[in-house]
């Protein structure tokens, strides 16, 4: 299935795009997706943490992705 990946901050710079379409296995979880993306972009493994948001909410590792989901990569935040 296809999902849309959206990236901000250092995640955007690591991926090289702020948005891109990706093919992933059906019913992939956030945890599995995280492993796959860290494999593809090893720099993600060096970050202090890496979270993912769907529907403008942080989602746990066991959250199951659906086709056309917009998955936002949230690198360590530093507002304020």
């Amino acid at each position: 299935m296809e999902i849309k990946l959206v990236a901000y901050g250092i995640a955007r710079e690591i991926i090289g795009h702020s948005e891109m379409k990706m093919k992933v296995v059906d019913k992939i979880t956030i945890g599995e997706f995280k492993k796959s993306i860290v494999g593809q972009y090893p720099e993600f493994g060096r970050l202090r943490d890496l979270r993912f948001a769907i529907n403008e909410d942080y989602q746990n590792d066991d959250f199951v992705l659906t086709t056309n989901d917009e998955v936002v990569v949230i690198p360590p935040v530093s507002g304020g």
Partner: protein
């Protein structure tokens, strides 16, 4: 009342103070963040802030709702700026009014501390010889 704003324009303390004014307030605490001229002794040229704005507003609202309940806050105003900021400019203002002052301090400090952990806003420090995404690496 909860007043959440993320914007590119300059922030204004009086605006946040007006947003939390209440005849039942005994104290209002305001936190004003400012861009420092250095980080660990290294001169900072400017800062760049970016945000996943709809989610950032949602996360700020979660904090504001918690604060309102936990500390009986009358009103809370959270304004955050995005874009390019020079030294001395204001990236964030938080104002909280409460019936008694102790709660206003606790609520305001909790809000800035939590904002820095949960709200999707990212800050890049630009130095003379490079740039760093703040807090990205351990």
């Amino acid at each position: 009342m909860i007043d959440i704003q993320i914007k590119e324009d300059k922030l204004d303390t009086q605006t946040c103070l007006d947003a939390v004014a209440d005849p039942g307030a005994g104290g209002t605490t305001i936190f004003v963040g400012t861009v420092r001229n250095q980080t660990q002794g290294k001169p900072v040229v400017r800062l760049e802030f970016e945000s996943f704005i709809p989610m950032a507003e949602k996360e700020m609202r979660k904090i504001a709702e918690y604060v309102t309940q936990k500390w009986d806050a009358l009103h809370i105003s959270i304004h955050h700026r995005v874009g390019i900021l020079d030294v001395g400019e204001i990236p964030v203002i938080i104002a909280v009014s409460t019936p008694h002052r102790k709660a206003a301090f606790e609520a305001c400090e909790y809000t800035i501390n939590t904002l820095k952990k949960t709200v999707p806003i990212w800050k890049k420090e630009i130095f003379e010889d490079g740039e760093v995404w703040v807090a990205a690496h351990p």
